[in-house]
């Protein structure tokens, strides 16, 4: 089945492009430490809000040169009453490939110093400019992406077993159990999900480590979505629970939990796969929305949502458009997931014609 799905994905032009884009994104996130010129926490306060570095390949005499860049100088412009950034042309900083830079631990274990691109120690290579703390936006995009692009998947891995089991039990047992369980699920669904999300996020105690916070946000995201999923699963269980194979299992004395888990729930596999791929984007969006409001991933950790927090100020979005790049990445990632999800649905659920 997986091979069939993959074949169809490669046949569809859009889905193929989406797969490639996501592949590139995830590869880049995997090698983030190496690809990023700086570490996540590297900051140079004198470089707050500097624009993207300009890279020159032709020097002042009009000759080709090794690529180099200039640092920015901050100056106060008395006419416009704002800080302007000028290139400090007194010193060239050559761009170096595979050179030693900030030390890091590759994959969290192997200590390394080499980066794909970097420049000398006094030079600053900010490919997408810097944020308010003088941190490299490009590097933080890569590290933030690690959080933004995995948190949705993790939430799904928490949510789906819960929803499957809940819906399975309610549907199989039926009667009072079903009524009570479904009333509870309906009640959870009756709270506008984003309201619930921000309330759950706001009661998280402060002073947690970033790993704890990350895990709790995963759980909160999972708490939002399980109910709707459980309800659909219940409906599917209701439609198969009286079929012969279930009765056969019953007659050989299988326990009820075994019947649910081993015989009934596997019937929902293709629905689960479709639902999962189609809901990844909504979790990416939820996390970024939450972090955008300052309730999700907290500084100094980066996520695409909390990087966009700075875009809430007019001055930032008008004078420092590079701060908006995380938004475009969210857009691209969500679009790619949607396109893939649509194609997978077409393959696994040929009756639906949403595309």
């Amino acid at each position: 089945m997986i091979r069939e799905v993959f074949k169809q994905l490669m046949k569809d032009k859009f889905a193929k492009a989406a797969l490639i884009v996501l592949g590139i994104i995830y590869l880049a996130l995997f090698f983030a430490d190496f690809l990023a010129p700086y570490t996540k926490d590297f900051s140079d306060r004198t470089m707050a809000y500097v624009p993207p570095s300009k890279i020159f390949t032709i020097d002042e005499n009009g000759k080709f040169s090794k690529p180099y860049t200039y640092n920015y100088k901050r100056e106060f412009d008395p006419d416009e009453l704002r800080i302007i950034y000028k290139l400090d042309r007194s010193r060239k900083h050559y761009i170096k490939f595979f050179a030693q830079g900030q030390p890091y631990k590759f994959l969290g274990i192997i200590p390394m110093k080499r980066h794909l691109v970097t420049t000398d120690n006094d030079g600053r290579l900010f490919l997408l400019g810097a944020d308010i703390n003088g941190r490299d936006v490009f590097s933080r995009l890569l590290f933030g992406g690690r959080i933004s692009m995995t948190i949705g998947f993790l939430a799904l891995f928490v949510l789906f077993p819960i929803g499957l089991l809940y819906g399975g039990i309610a549907g199989y047992f039926g009667g009072k159990v079903d009524v009570i369980m479904m009333r509870f699920a309906e009640a959870v669904m009756s709270i506008p999900s984003f309201y619930l999300l921000i309330i759950l996020a706001s009661i998280l105690p402060s002073g947690m480590t970033s790993v704890q916070r990350f895990m709790l946000i995963v759980i909160i995201l999972a708490l939002i979505g399980w109910a709707g999923f459980a309800r659909v699963v219940r409906g599917m269980v209701l439609s198969v629970k009286n079929q012969e194979f279930v009765q056969a299992a019953k007659s050989i004395g299988a326990s009820r939990l075994r019947i649910i888990v081993k015989h009934i729930l596997p019937q929902t596999t293709s629905f689960v796969i479709v639902a999962m791929t189609l809901s990844v984007p909504s979790y990416i969006l939820s996390e970024s929305g939450l972090s955008f409001l300052g309730l999700g991933i907290q500084q100094p950790d980066a996520s695409w949502g909390n990087m966009l927090k700075e875009a809430q100020e007019y001055t930032n979005i008008i004078y420092r458009p590079w701060l908006l790049t995380p938004g475009f990445l969210i857009f691209v990632a969500v679009l790619a997931f949607n396109l893939i999800g649509d194609t997978i649905r077409d393959v696994l659920d040929p009756k639906s014609k949403v595309r």
Partner: protein, 327 residues
């Protein structure tokens, strides 16, 4: 008559639902390690007596189940307590809920007017370039994060100066004549409506298209075609009526989605709605306000679903005859 009984039953069903909602919300909020009156205690303009009254009203010295009882009793009576600024919660809600309703109702209206015809067109022209282009466009619409789109529109508004930035009314609103007031509100609504419209249009258009495609595949439509009816008649007289019913169920979901989506949009545009209210309340840990707006959100959502269900009974004779079983 049967319809009326069903509707009544359906309305009564929402009561236990809302009770469970309130229990869930209450326990989530109360089990958090936040002192519900912390903000109130810090506010120097709130007197000791008010504090005392709030402690008693909430029963904070009693076990949590008693607290819930007290809260539920005063909620039913319409006493929602005071915010951390000492204002009445109910007054605050009365001011904000109509704004959110205005926003969502306009968006739903617009998405239906545009989305349903686009869905029909895409289904009729299935697999033509027109259909493909629409699919690409809706994919894009679905993928834009609402808050990011809102931020982009804000830049646009600031740069061009064509639209007012933030709020629902201008500062000189009270001095305007009636028609000026309408114009003013419209101008303020354009940007938030655009954001929510773009996001919810895609889902609606796709659903309509899928429904109609399903119906167009059915035997009775084939029969109608075989009979030699014009394609126009087949689509609009026979297929459409069946394809539109599931859309009404979707109306309830759409309302729910909009309430959630509106929160971020309201926040970015500084729009005085329920979503922004709850957000501000959450950030200030203003427990009374959070609890009350959470309940109001849930009530609006349940009411939206209820209206959709009732509409469905009216439009779909099959459900009417089954006594509403299918709904």
């Amino acid at each position: 008559m049967q319809i009326l009984i069903y509707i009544l039953k359906r309305i009564l069903q929402t009561i236990p639902l809302l009770i469970i909602v309130s229990l869930i919300s209450f326990f989530i909020i109360r089990l958090s390690p936040v002192d519900p009156l912390a903000e109130l205690k810090l506010n120097p303009s709130v007197s000791k007596e008010t504090l005392q009254r709030e402690t008693e009203r909430l029963g904070l010295d009693k076990p949590i189940i008693v607290q819930y009882g007290k809260w539920a009793k005063s909620f039913v009576k319409g006493d929602l307590g005071i915010t951390s600024n000492g204002e009445q919660v109910s007054a605050k809600l009365k001011e904000r809920i109509p704004n959110t309703l205005l926003l969502t109702v306009i968006v739903i209206f617009l998405t239906w007017i545009v989305g349903v015809p686009l869905g029909i067109l895409a289904a009729v022209k299935w697999k033509t370039p027109f259909d493909r282009i629409l699919t690409v466009l809706t994919s894009i619409g679905m993928a834009i994060p609402s808050f990011f789109f809102a931020v982009l529109l804000l830049i646009f508004a600031v740069k061009t100066g064509w639209f007012p930035v933030g709020g629902l009314t201008s500062s000189n609103f009270l001095e305007m004549s009636f028609s000026q007031k309408v114009m003013d509100i419209t101008r303020h609504l354009i940007l938030p409506v655009t954001v929510l419209f773009t996001i919810s249009l895609a889902g609606l258009q796709r659903q309509m298209r899928a429904n109609l495609l399903d119906v167009l595949d059915s035997d009775y439509v084939k029969f109608a075609r075989a009979k030699g009816l014009s394609e126009f008649k087949v689509v609009f007289k026979h297929a459409l009526r069946n394809a539109i019913n599931p859309m009404i169920t979707l109306l309830g979901f759409e309302f729910a989605g909009l309430l959630s989506g509106a929160a971020l949009t309201e926040y970015v545009f500084q729009y005085p709605g329920l979503g922004r209210l709850i957000l501000e309340a959450v950030l200030r840990s203003d427990i009374n306000l959070v609890m009350a707006s959470l309940m109001m959100g849930a009530i609006m959502l349940v009411a939206g679903n209820l209206i959709a269900d009732i509409l469905l009974i009216i439009t779909d004779p099959r459900i009417r005859e089954a006594g509403g079983r299918q709904a």
